[in-house]
């Protein structure tokens, strides 16, 4: 028997939701054959069977969310796939290695099982200190069962018990049921509904909270005359679509301008750490895409090596896959800066929250026609856009932020047919 555990599907992912079992108990599974579909807050993934055999038991039902490392199924290893010692014995003719003499008693344990077995034993083996604390604090077996052991093989350590007692002591009533009753009682019965939290909602909530709690945000805006860009795009968008099969939107053009800005102000393409400001060599631009029940930020890796056309294709591909929930783990990792486009919904000033560990996020607001005073005091109708930058004030100061925005603005305002699309 080997246990299948919820895998870690990305560096920051701590839990996953079983979306669909592709095999049912009793089914034969081949090694690496799709076993189950898992949804995480970032991507959906098909988990392959770790070995060949028969699916004995499904331990986690569809729709249930469990933490990484939780056992989700048990597979009985098939005889044919991994020869047990009985087979060479039946064949008889083959000389048996000496080491196999004792093997029948062991019954070919799989690595997974060995681990699982060990952990059960470790969990139930309580140290004298733990036993003493259990007695002192009158911890019941049921409570003990709920404690997650942090020691070797899941062993419940003294600290685990102390932490548990600390948590238990928090409400005065010391009664979990009462606490729940208070929390769930709505102010006006029946007047509210609670929308269950999706993994994505939870991830957004925790990232945004972490960002606002740890990053001192500063915010600044530059007003950009987009008339040249608008005119140019108007001229080429149809032929571009025909040639490339994707729309030439403002996003790849802005991303290109951002890349140029970041090249000029590398300290914004950076991360804060206690050891120092980490400057990133690659410029990987996250592009926020709104999806059905939230927001996802796929990443254009090494955006500094791409033309506007290349960026347009890459962003189009990522956005499509994001909406079809077909992004892979690398697609959503390692962004060094983010571009957000709330302007399509008509906003004119956006205060975005930085996605840690990045140092900044740029919001493109709506392009609107406005009367503008030009050089020589003429008044003209121009297409204006606000670019709003939130930045980590630990990493850089207003001067660098302003220099970045100025670079982006100049690049966009100086746009002409001479700027290569490819």
């Amino acid at each position: 028997m080997a246990s299948v555990k919820m895998p870690q599907l990305g560096e920051s992912i701590t839990e996953g939701t079983i979306s669909k079992w592709l095999k049912q108990p009793g089914d034969q599974v081949k090694k690496y054959e799709g076993l189950v579909e898992v949804i995480t807050d970032k991507v959906n993934a098909e988990i392959p069977a770790p070995l060949a055999g028969v699916l004995k038991e499904i331990k986690v039902k569809e729709g249930t969310t469990v933490t990484v490392g939780t056992e989700i199924a048990v597979i009985e290893e098939s005889v044919a796939a991994a020869p047990t010692p009985t087979i060479p014995r039946e064949r008889g003719r083959e000389p048996q290695p000496v080491a196999q003499e004792s093997a029948p008693a062991v019954a070919a344990p799989m690595p997974g099982e060995a681990l699982g077995g060990g952990s059960t034993e470790s969990r139930t083996r309580l140290s004298p200190a733990v036993r003493a604390l259990i007695e002192e604090h009158h911890i019941t077996d049921a409570e003990l069962g709920r404690i997650q052991g942090s020691g070797v093989g899941g062993r419940i350590s003294k600290k685990d018990i102390e932490d548990f007692v600390g948590r238990r002591a928090q409400p005065v009533a010391a009664n979990g049921e009462q606490r729940q009753a208070v929390a769930e009682a709505p102010a006006v019965p029946g007047a509210e509904t609670t929308v269950p939290l999706t993994p994505m909602r939870r991830a957004i909530a925790s990232n945004m909270l972490k960002s606002k709690q740890t990053i001192p945000h500063a915010w600044t805006v530059a007003e950009v005359d987009m008339t040249n860009v608008v005119r140019f795009r108007q001229q080429v968008k149809d032929s571009f679509k025909q040639r490339e099969g994707v729309d030439l939107t403002f996003v790849p053009i802005i991303v290109k301008a951002v890349v140029e800005g970041l090249k000029a102000v590398p300290v914004l393409n950076a991360s804060w750490s206690d050891d120092g400001v980490v400057l990133h060599k690659d410029i990987n631009i996250g592009v926020a895409v709104s999806v059905e029940d939230g927001l996802i930020v796929p990443v254009v890796h090494q955006a500094d090596r791409m033309s506007i056309a290349g960026l347009a294709k890459s962003i189009d591909d990522l956005a499509r896959r994001a909406r079809a929930t077909k992004l892979t783990i690398p697609d959503v990792q390692a962004a060094t800066f983010t571009v957000n486009n709330p302007g399509t919904f008509g906003t004119i000033l956006s205060y975005s929250i930085i996605a840690p560990p990045q140092a900044g996020i740029l919001a493109m607001d709506a392009i609107v026609k406005r009367p503008v005073v030009l050089d020589g005091d003429a008044i003209a109708i121009r297409s204006m856009m606000n670019l709003c930058l939130s930045f980590d004030h630990r990493v850089l100061d207003g001067v660098s932020a302003a220099r970045f925005l100025q670079g982006v603005r100049r690049w966009l305002e100086g746009f002409s047919e001479q700027v290569p699309l490819y």
Binding site: S127, P128, A129, R131, S157, K158
Partner: protein, 327 residues
């Protein structure tokens, strides 16, 4: 208060005791005109003369034997064994005579004498200049064994050893001589024999050590703190009589103990500390008492790679401490 090296503190301790009490004298190989091979007694010959700083023949049984005779007759000798490795020829004098003298005479005679011995390795000293001898001598009833880890403790314990009515084996780690520096209090600053000291407070696990290993353990505690593990460091200071109360207090506090020494593992000080904890603090334990020690090989080798393999260091202690923290 002034920052001094470990060896300066020892020299100062001898100097002050010799100035305070005319019955205190120093005897050993090259301790006089040469000031000792490590210069521990540098300047004392000039200051106190050849009657009180005596260059002995190259015969350890003679050095200790003379000291015993002088002590019986009311003197307070400090006998230096040039390297702890050379103490074997004096074992008969130490074990059969010095350690038993008070017992044999039903308390009529005490032997107020100190045997100083530079010990330990990590100095490329090879087979004859690197060994640890504390477990061997701690096994002998009637002997006190002291192994300070800081300059202040070295000076304070040396003074206590000189003033003690019984024979004290005073171990000075030779790698610590110039490596370990620290504040040494002005004035007498006597440190009582038999008292361990918490050198760093912690709550998750305890590191128990003495001598040079104390320095490494403090370094490790600092690194563990960066990982969120709060380590308490107990410096035994005196190996015998061992401070049971201090050992049990820290074991009961953290429930996880790692004992570190450079001496061989088998029947070493860590085994004794471990047994004390098992017998008296079993109910407080959250993990088996762990040991990190030198290996059971005949001697510290000269080959530098092998010497490093022998010596416990901060890296090895850290790895073991992490294992204990994760248990």
């Amino acid at each position: 208060m002034a920052v001094k090296t470990y060896i300066e503190a020892i020299r100062e301790g001898m100097d002050e005791e010799m100035a305070r009490d005319p019955s205190v004298f120093l005897i050993g190989e090259d301790v006089g005109q040469r000031g000792g091979v490590f210069l521990a007694s540098d300047g004392l010959y000039k200051k106190y003369g050849e009657d009180r700083v005596i260059d002995s023949p190259l015969a350890e049984s003679c050095i200790v034997g003379v000291a015993i005779g002088a002590a019986v007759n009311g003197m307070r000798p400090i006998a230096e064994i040039q390297f702890a490795d050379f103490i074997a020829p004096a074992m008969n004098q130490i074990i059969e005579e010095a350690a038993r003298f008070c017992y044999r005479t039903a308390g009529d005679f005490n032997l107020p004498m100190v045997i100083r011995a530079p010990w330990g390795g990590g100095v490329h000293g090879a087979l004859y200049h690197s060994q640890s001898i504390e477990a061997t001598f701690s096994h002998i009833p009637g002997l006190k064994v002291v192994a300070p880890g800081t300059p202040a403790d070295a000076k304070g314990l040396l003074k206590a050893a000189v003033r003690d009515p019984d024979p004290v084996l005073f171990l000075e780690h030779k790698r610590a001589y110039r490596l370990v520096k620290g504040e040494v209090p002005d004035g007498d600053g006597v440190v009582p024999i038999g008292k361990a000291e918490i050198k760093r407070e912690g709550k998750d696990l305890s590191l128990i050590a003495y001598g040079l290993m104390l320095t490494y353990c403090l370094e490790v505690a600092e690194k563990l703190a960066a990982d969120g593990v709060s380590a308490e460091v107990l410096d035994l200071r005196t190996i015998k009589p061992i401070d049971q109360a201090a050992i049990l207090a820290t074991a009961k506090k953290t429930g996880k103990v790692l004992v570190v020494h450079e001496d061989n593992r088998f029947a070493g000080i860590a085994a004794e500390v471990s047994a004390i904890i098992m017998e008296n603090a079993f109910d407080a334990l959250d993990a088996p008492v762990m040991r990190l020690t030198g290996p059971d090989v005949p001697a510290m080798p000269f080959n530098h790679v092998l010497e490093d393999a022998f010596m416990p260091n901060a890296e090895k202690i850290l790895a073991k401490a992490k294992e204990l923290a994760a248990y």
